[in-house]
């Protein structure tokens, strides 16, 4: 909690910078609208204004600077505008009982969350299975590990449209599965690496002790290696869920999806409504924060339960 004050200070500073940046970012748009409304603008015509710097425009037309804070389609919306838009598309709609309307961000977050969780589940399972294979088989270690590293250097977005084309041709309905595959692709690597470390965490002497008990391979896996890897697993799960969310949104962005937070960003871009883009971005950030916090809580409970040092 001693970090609370510094964090709040930094947040307030960021907000302040954002609020101040709105004026120069929006001055051109504000002046265009003011001029159309019949106001006197110093260099007349938006084409002539293009060669004048925003600072001079602000100094010469200081009466109209405040208009930049209240535009319908701002280049940079104010924090208040984003907050209002976010509330309008989540809380306000939920109160009216329309939380599952197609215009509500709750609905779109839910679509994104579903794919994220499927991808997370798939990626985590693959990561754990891969890690067990790597720890127990030298062949798997030699052949899988380099490719796991190489797979992460391939920009998945290049593959995203292809995964969707192939899966729709194979006969998979909807976009849930391809998005989940992309999330799983991003999610499995951190889990794999941490679990290999975790399963190898027990010391030789501990493994030897189990050998003196005549423990079978399965027993020493269940009673020693698996519990020893728990702290590693949870740390990687937190990285993995964030990566899975990134994967889902990347899967929604370039592929013409119509529902999901990534699709809201895409649609906001096509219809020229920056507020929709910004509110979807913030919804994604809030979702990421919630998921990571949730896993953090689970981690604390689980680790306290197993008595592992936190």
């Amino acid at each position: 909690m001693r970090n609370l004050l510094p964090i709040l200070t930094v947040l307030v500073a960021l907000m302040l910078i954002w609020q101040l940046a709105v004026a120069p970012m929006n001055i051109r748009g504000a002046l265009d609208i003011a001029e159309r409304g019949g106001a006197e603008i110093v260099p007349e015509g938006s084409v002539d204004r293009r060669s004048v710097s925003v600072w001079r425009l602000m100094a010469q037309n200081s009466d109209h600077v405040s208009m930049g804070y209240d535009l319908d389609r701002p280049r940079l919306p104010t924090p208040t505008q984003v907050g209002q838009e976010l509330w309008k598309t989540t809380g306000a709609m939920a109160i009216k009982g329309r939380a599952w309307s197609k215009r509500s961000l709750i609905y779109h977050s839910w679509i994104t969350l579903q794919s994220t969780l499927w991808g997370f589940f798939l990626g985590t399972s693959l990561g754990i299975i891969g890690a067990v294979a790597i720890v127990y088989s030298r062949t798997a270690q030699l052949s899988l590990m380099p490719w796991a590293i190489i797979s992460q250097t391939i920009p998945i977005v290049a593959l995203a449209p292809m995964i969707i084309v192939v899966s729709s041709q194979v006969g998979v309905e909807g976009r849930g599965l391809p998005k989940a595959i992309i999330s799983a692709y991003l999610c499995f690597f951190p889990v794999l690496v941490s679990m290999v470390k975790g399963l190898r965490a027990p010391e030789i002497s501990q493994l030897d002790l189990l050998k003196t008990y005549d423990a079978s391979g399965l027993q020493s896996f269940l009673k020693l290696r698996l519990p020893a890897s728990l702290p590693f697993l949870f740390t990687s799960l937190k990285v993995g869920i964030a990566a899975a969310l990134v994967g889902t949104i990347v899967g929604e962005l370039p592929t013409g999806a119509i529902s999901g937070l990534g699709a809201r960003i895409l649609i906001g871009d096509q219809f020229g409504t920056p507020l929709a883009i910004w509110s979807a971005l913030f919804a994604a950030a809030i979702l990421a924060g919630l998921l990571v916090t949730l896993l953090d809580l689970v981690q604390r409970v689980a680790l306290r339960h197993t008595g592992a040092p936190t």
């Binding site: 030699l142 290049a158 593959l159 041709q169 949104i249 920056p274 994604a284």
Partner: protein, 281 residues
């Protein structure tokens, strides 16, 4: 069907070879360490080829690797233009700007314990966000050409590098700092001779993460508008016009660039952090 069977036979043979190689007495030598993953990769390609040919999958859906290789060889000129536009102009410039800005910011932040405590959690949070979503906003602000791609890349690589560098700057231990103090070293001397070198493993960790992100950012930003060249442009139009083999060739380029950059980073890291115990064999 025969092609599929051949591929399956090849798969089993290669698998057997790999098991034999990795359990043989040479399994720790470097030729085997390279051969085993290479055989694994070739097996995947052969399986892909076999499945596509054996089941008669249309090349419009999934072209066989041989066709992709032909397309690659036939359209090297296009691929080169796209490479210049996306990687050299967009990703590389953005990466440079972002990395330099992040390292300078980290050094500035590091002077104040208050700022470090406030910015580190926020930076960690930002590093986990789907920042790639800012792509349409950046294209709106900076236009269609490489400037908007570089801007997306700057935002994406900034936080991972910042967080890692701040952590790295704090990684030199108290004993080392005390020693430098007894030499009456100034802040800058301590920074340059002790803390920056000690931070290098962390910095390179961040740079390696950022290198992949840079490619992703540059490609995604092109989906939202670009001049009529660039890897992202070619991929999105290729999917639309069913020239899927060209798309796979672009993916191959992206994979090679990604792996190459990662390898280069790892190589530089070994040169810079030669003193680190990790590299002692």
């Amino acid at each position: 069907m025969i092609a599929l069977l051949q591929a399956l036979v090849f798969w089993i043979a290669a698998w057997g070879l790999n098991i034999w190689l990795s359990n043989s007495k040479w399994s720790a030598t470097w030729p085997v360490r390279i051969a085993v993953p290479v055989i694994f990769g070739i097996t995947l390609l052969v399986l892909w080829e076999g499945v596509v040919r054996g089941l008669g999958v249309s090349p419009v859906i999934l072209p066989p690797p041989s066709l992709v290789a032909q397309t690659f060889a036939a359209s090297t000129e296009t691929l080169w233009i796209d490479f210049l536009q996306t990687v050299v102009k967009g990703a590389l410039r953005g990466f440079m700007i972002g990395a330099v800005a992040a390292i300078i910011c980290a050094i500035v932040i590091d002077r104040s314990a208050f700022l470090t405590r406030g910015l580190l959690p926020i930076g960690n949070f930002f590093a986990a966000l789907p920042i790639v979503g800012v792509a349409p906003i950046m294209v709106n602000w900076f236009g269609f050409d490489w400037q908007s791609k570089a801007a997306v890349v700057v935002v994406m690589v900034f936080f991972p590098i910042l967080v890692n560098t701040v952590q790295g700057l704090r990684s030199s231990d108290a004993l080392q700092r005390d020693l430098v103090r007894t030499y009456a070293a100034t802040y800058w001397q301590t920074l340059i001779k002790l803390r920056l070198p000690a931070a290098m493993p962390f910095v390179f960790n961040g740079l390696k993460i950022a290198a992949t992100l840079a490619l992703i950012g540059a490609i995604v930003a092109e989906y939202f508008g670009s001049p009529t060249r660039g890897m992202g442009f070619r991929i999105s139009t290729g999917v639309g016009s069913l020239s899927i083999d060209l798309v796979w060739a672009e993916i191959a380029v992206a994979a090679m660039v990604g792996t190459g950059v990662y390898g280069l980073m790892a190589w530089i890291e070994r040169r810079v952090t030669f003193w680190h115990p990790y590299h002692r064999e």
